[in-house]
Structure formats: structure tokens, C-alpha cells
């Protein structure tokens, strides 16, 4: 299992692995927002938590279509399915590798981008906390979407259509934590909801992903 994680991390850092694509996308989207809504700092600090969360979510989405499709194309998914690793752990490891290469960098860079959007000072820590709790759910749900569409030619668009609605609860509560934190309100209720969504996704979705993958590999 460690071997699979290390291989996926290594692949993403090698040429054409796509590491940093999501990060660059997140950066560009955040920079474009002040251009589109105008430079009023009061307006920007109001919308900053929501914009940063939406940007992080879309950046996560960007790399999902490579998650299982590459392994399917070169046949290693078939070989992994016949290996001693259970498919449930294969998809869990793949989601973890996706989170480390996409989710975690987004969490780390979000405070810097918060400055660009004039995010109020108390909001920074809550933004990082909400992304840290929320992005694992994005990776796990995304892996489920990737498992559903594996083997389809041009499955990327379909994948986005399937996954975005599933991201809604995470987005609502994640952005709510950041927004409440930024305005100095009580945050415990949305934090608990967000953590609950992540815990449930991590606990249940790998079984669903492995099940659809088995059907798709037939």
C-alpha cells in the first residue's frame, strides 16, 4: 500500500504528472476575481471566504480525470485489481495521493491568496482549518466520480457533472466556517457538520468506489 502511495506521488512530480496544475489554477482564479468584481476592498473581504473555497473546489476538480483514467489506459488498473491489494484500499490510497498532491498544497497556499482578496484577519486561521477538514472529502468524492467514469472516452466533462453536485454540502459548510470565522461569529456548528461530511465520505465512499470499479473493469 505504501508502494502504491509512493508510486502515485512520484508519478505526479515527474514530467507530465500534473503536480502544481491545480495550484496554478487556484492562484489564477483568485487573481481574476478582483478584476471582475472591482477593487472595492469591503466587497472583496465579504466575498473572500466563498471565492477561496470555490476556487479550491474547482482546482481539486481539475485533476480528477487523471486519477484513475491513466491507470486504466495503460492497463495497470487491471493488474492492480488482480494483485493482493483489495480494490477498496487501492482507491483509498489513490484518493490520499490526490489529496497530498492537490488538496494539501491548496490548504497551504490559501492564506497567501486570502491577502489578495483582503480576507479579514480572524478569517485566515478558519479558512485553513475549514480547507484542511474539507479537502479530504473533495478527494474521496472525486475518486468515486473517477471510478464511475473510468473507461469512458472524454469522461472528464461527465465526471465534473457527476461530482460537482456531490460537492455541494462540503462547499456550503466549508465556506460557512470560513465566512463565520472571518466575521468573528461562532463556528462550531458548521465545523462539526463539515467534519461529519468528511468522516462519512472517507468511511463509506471507498467501498462504493471499489464496487463501481469492479463493474467498470468487467
Amino acid at each position: 500500500m505504501i508502494a502504491l502511495l509512493l508510486r502515485d506521488l512520484k508519478l505526479s512530480f515527474r514530467a507530465g504528472g500534473g503536480f502544481g496544475l491545480g495550484l496554478a489554477f487556484f492562484l489564477i482564479v483568485t487573481v481574476l476575481v478582483p478584476f471582475s468584481v472591482g477593487p472595492q476592498s469591503a466587497l472583496l473581504s465579504t466575498i473572500a471566504p466563498g471565492v477561496l473555497w470555490l476556487g479550491a473546489l474547482l482546482a481539486c476538480l481539475l485533476s480528477l480525470d487523471r486519477l484513475l483514467a491513466l491507470d486504466w489506459e495503460d492497463g495497470s488498473l487491471d493488474l492492480l485489481a488482480t494483485a493482493p491489494l483489495p480494490l477498496e484500499s487501492v482507491v483509498t490510497i489513490k484518493a490520499l495521493a490526490h489529496w497530498i498532491t492537490t488538496g494539501l498544497p491548496l490548504v497551504l497556499v490559501a492564506p497567501v491568496l486570502g491577502v489578495l482578496l483582503n480576507l479579514p484577519v480572524p478569517g485566515f486561521s478558519w479558512l485553513v482549518i475549514s480547507l484542511l477538514i474539507g479537502t479530504p472529502a473533495l478527494s474521496v468524492i472525486g475518486t468515486f466520480g473517477a471510478a464511475l467514469t473510468v473507461g469512458l472516452k472524454r469522461g472528464g466533462l461527465l465526471l465534473s457533472l457527476l461530482v460537482l453536485p456531490l460537492y455541494v454540502p462540503t462547499l456550503i459548510f466549508g465556506a460557512e466556517v470560513a465566512r463565520r470565522g472571518a466575521t468573528g461569529m461562532e463556528t462550531s456548528a458548521p465545523v462539526l457538520m463539515l467534519a461529519g461530511i468528511t468522516a462519512a465520505s472517507v468511511a463509506l465512499l471507498p467501498f462504493a468506489s471499489a464496487a463501481v470499479l469492479r463493474i467498470n473493469l468487467r
Binding site: I2, A3, L4, R7, K10, L11, R14, A15, G16, G17, D74, G75, S76, L77, D78, L79, L80, A81, T82, A83, P84, L85, L217, R218
Partner: protein
């Protein structure tokens, strides 16, 4: 470990392709699978590898014993030859990749990226993967595609050594590998179309 297949029926994309497939594969034996294109050889091998369920019949002794080599080699172009093999070795819980590199003459290529190998070299690497699995039953689907004469001999002697150490192999191929093994021709097992029953006939 003996592989026992009784009265197996399989389907591809929901359409039955083979039925009544029976064979036993004892340790130390090779079985050459033959049959015309499209008869369902690949589907049969995928079923035995556990990638899809059979329509009916039973497969005994395949669980956790089978190493499967498909048409594609499952190589990562940006990893080196050694990294590719080490990955599969650790997935299967083995450590030593040297014999596999030796058997397919990959020593000189070990630091090259798999993406820079020729088709035949990639195939050799894909077949070397079988040696690091440590599994007793090899299931090989057209293993000699894009191999030259020399590499085919390398492959045949790797299989021979595997058989001598108590392994077994089921190989779908159209060429003569010079292996002593029974031939399983699945041509006669082609699934018959379902007879039209009264319900279907009512529409005609």
C-alpha cells in the same frame, strides 16, 4: 496449486461467448489456449484472473494464486525500468527483482524510463513483472506480441523454469513457443445462440 475449471460459461458485454469449458491445470504443466480471433480467449483469461464473474460453472484454485499479464503491460512511462519492477514486487510482497531483470535481459536498460523503450522492450518488462509476482499460476494473454525470435526464446525459457519450480502457466498464443504442454482449443466451445422460446417467438 491445481487450477480446476468445470463447465464454465462466460460472456463479453453481456453476450455469451464460450460455454462448457473444462480443464485442469496441474503444477508443473503448461496449457496453450488456442482458438480463432474473437472466440473469447481474452474473456476466458480475464474471468480466470477474477476480473469478471462467469455466467455459470466453477473455477477452483485461482484465488490469490494467479498472476495475470494482459495485452497492455501496465507500465508507467515516467518511471524507470527498475522503479516499475520494484513497484510491482512490493505490491506482491516480494523484494528481489534481479532474477527478473536477468531473465529478460533488462540489466542494461534498468535506468531508462519505460516510456523510452521500444515496443518489444516494453513487452519484456511486462513479462518480467510475472517473475516478481511470486504467484504459481501464470495467465498470459498473447505474451509474444512484438517480441523478436530471441526474446521469444527468453520468454519460453522463463516459462520452462517457472514450470520446473512447480508453477503452471495458461498461455493464449498463436505461435509455437516450443513448450511441452497440452493444447486447449476453445473453438468447439463457442456459445450457441439461445433457442427462441415461445415468448420471443410470439413477436416474430
Amino acid at each position: 496449486m491445481t487450477l480446476n475449471v468445470t463447465d464454465l460459461a462466460i460472456a463479453r458485454a453481456g453476450i455469451p461467448v464460450l460455454e462448457g469449458v473444462n480443464f485442469t491445470l496441474e503444477p508443473g504443466r503448461a496449457l496453450i489456449l488456442r482458438g480463432p480471433n474473437g472466440i473469447g480467449k481474452t474473456t476466458l483469461l480475464r474471468t480466470l484472473a477474477g476480473l469478471q464473474p462467469p455466467l455459470s460453472g466453477s473455477i477452483q484454485g485461482a484465488e490469490d494464486q494467479v498472476a495475470y499479464a494482459a495485452h497492455s503491460d501496465g507500465l508507467k512511462p515516467t518511471l524507470t525500468v527498475t522503479e516499475n519492477l520494484v513497484f510491482w514486487a512490493s505490491v506482491f510482497g516480494t523484494v528481489d527483482i534481479e532474477p527478473a531483470l536477468d531473465a529478460f535481459d533488462l540489466k542494461g536498460l534498468s535506468d531508462r524510463h519505460a516510456g523510452n523503450l521500444s515496443a518489444g522492450q516494453k513487452r519484456r518488462l511486462g513479462l518480467a513483472r510475472m517473475l516478481v509476482t511470486g504467484r504459481p499460476i501464470w495467465i498470459l494473454d498473447e505474451p509474444t506480441v512484438s517480441l523478436d525470435r530471441n526474446a521469444v526464446d527468453m520468454f519460453a525459457s522463463a516459462v520452462r523454469r517457472h514450470l520446473e519450480t512447480g508453477g503452471s502457466a495458461l498461455i493464449a498464443t498463436h505461435i509455437d513457443l516450443g513448450l511441452e504442454g497440452e493444447v486447449l482449443d476453445v473453438g468447439p466451445n463457442k456459445a450457441k445462440p439461445k433457442p427462441i422460446d415461445d415468448f420471443d417467438g410470439g413477436f416474430l
